[in-house]
Amino acid sequence: MSVTTAPALAAVDPREVLRAQVKWRWLETIFWLATLLPFLVAPTYLVLGSQIAITALFALSLDLIVGYCGLVSLGHAAFFGFGAYTAGLISKAGWGEPITGLLAAGCAAMVLGYLTSFIIVRITHFALIMVTLGMCLLLYEVANKAHSITGGDDGLQGVHMWPLLGHFQFDLYGTTAYGYAIVILFLSFLVLRRLVNSPFGLSLRGIRENPRRMPAIGSPMSNRIRTIYTISAAFAGLAGGLLAQTTEFVALDALSFQRSAEVLVMLVLGGAGRLYGGLIGAMIFMIARDQLADMNPQYWYFWLGLLLIAVIVFLPNGILGGCAELLARWRRKA
């Protein structure tokens, strides 16, 4: 008798739900194979490609707190810039090995994220937006005024990287840079994909959906927020380190408010709360900027603003969310 009831119970087993989400779909395989295409069909765009991969990693890291946890941060560039300066300064100090330098950048940003996470859990809503923004502006001012260390307005010059793995020289065409950035992006994606589809990831979504109920059912909410904020900072630091290493330069703009705002825009364009949302958003944003900014940067902002308004009003879940909705509607009809 007990056998007959088992399937009904199994159907709602949360582990099954998670396992179903972890399963690779063919579309994903195609997507990641397609990231290798630029090597063959568009070798002149490899530099842009590496920029897109770096930005996508940055957007992915922000998605953890904005999309999954529902906390708005207007100052995520703080970690991006901190990682970039760490990677740049390590290389300038004479250690040009890329991978250890990159890990150091991630760790440095992680420590900063851990320290600031104690402030983050204390505040919500509007004050949270302002505090994250304020901390990013603070770091920007520090980097701006510490001219002797960071180069201030002129940016950090004299970064030089050794060949990757001892073999691949960073060249002007961006071949090594693109390959390096894509591999790091893919590895980070695998880690984050596992993370958000774990019970821990579910508890984050719980915080987004109902921050009052989570403590009531025994989920240590501030702990969870601190953990994810630290992880998110680490990945943002990795993205920043990648930018510093592949361009062999750190501009002060890595810490700017514009960078924080732009990455948020990408995330929302693509669809927050889905890992591919950040990736797609970064791709669309960077390619559109590359095409439109040639005309005039002012016009670029006009179209970006218009696109943003349209997406928020008509596609509240971003482009990917809109696609998913269309797909669901089409399936119901069929």
Partner: protein
């Protein structure tokens, strides 16, 4: 030395009063509807450009353009509120911030397209220029005018909120929106009017501020941070809070830039973050 300090403090106070006029509307509307409106600076910019255009192209006197700047900014805000904001009241913080950032982007590009990217100077009437000297002390006449104007506006706002029927409605909506609705108040209408008034004040601030902070297409972004600091630190929907914070902000900004230029804006941001961590709801929070 003392004279220098006092006139610095005065300049800072005058600057703070300008920030107060710019941001008080944001404080009240944010407190009432919980709507994160990052496009408040756009209305200030609209007011500023209205004044510049009227003075340069139509030859209007400075004072005559001020009410028009107020009205044009208020009218623009009503249109935006009807078309876009109204749909977003129940949306998340994220959607609200991004929608309004989108509006800022569009307005910056539009202003650059129509008026060019340069600074827009205004020619003030003679009686507002120069300085008044009193013994060792000397004050800019325009800054004195600014302080007086801001104080008049503050008194009008406080009296209006505390002693008029409309003020009572606004307070009711801020304190408990659902209860106010339940008692039959038309919250949406109250909000529309408050929103228009606040944006009009921002427009007035934009016009008054041309002489002090200049006017270019990036105005909407550049002063957004200052406005947000006033609102966040002062506490939502608190006129007293916005007044005190704006005055402090102006003084800290001017004085720290004069005495310790090497750490510049650092002090300002540090003060803001520490205040917000200490009292997340603001210094003069009503709730």
């Amino acid at each position: 030395m003392i004279a220098r300090t006092i006139s610095l403090l005065f300049d800072g106070f005058a600057y703070g009063m300008l920030l107060f006029v710019l941001s008080v509307g944001l404080s009240v509307t944010l407190g009432m509807m919980n709507f994160v409106n990052l496009a408040h600076g756009t209305f200030a910019m609209i007011g500023g450009y209205t004044t510049v255009m009227l003075m340069r192209n139509a030859g209007w006197p400075f004072f005559a353009t001020l009410p028009v700047a107020f009205l044009v900014a208020a009218a623009a805000s009503v249109v935006l509120e009807r078309v876009l904001y109204r749909r977003m009241y129940r949306a998340s913080d994220l959607d609200q911030s991004l929608l309004t950032i989108g509006i800022v982007f569009v307005s910056i590009a539009a202003a650059a397209y129509i008026f060019g990217t340069g600074q827009q100077p205004v020619q003030l009437p003679d009686y507002l220029r120069g300085r008044i000297a009193y013994g060792d002390f000397s004050f800019g006449i325009y800054r004195l005018f600014l302080v007086v104007a801001a104080l008049v506006i503050t008194v009008l706002l406080v009296l209006g909120l505390d002693y008029t029927r409309f003020g009572a409605r606004v307070r009711a909506c801020v304190d408990n929106q659902r209860m106010a609705r339940g008692l039959g108040l038309n919250v949406d209408a109250v909000f529309s009017i408050t929103f228009a008034l606040g944006s009009g004040l921002a427009g007035l601030g934009g016009a008054l501020g041309i002489e002090i902070v200049g006017l270019d297409p990036n105005f909407a972004f550049k002063y957004l941070v200052y406005m947000l600091i006033v609102v966040a630190v002062g506490g939502l929907a608190s006129i007293r809070g916005a007044f005190v914070t704006a005055a402090l902000l102006g003084i800290i900004d001017i004085v720290s830039k004069y005495y310790v230029p090497e750490i510049g804006a650092f002090v300002l941001y540090l003060v803001m973050v520490s205040f917000l961590v200490w009292r997340p709801a603001g210094l003069f929070a009503r709730r």
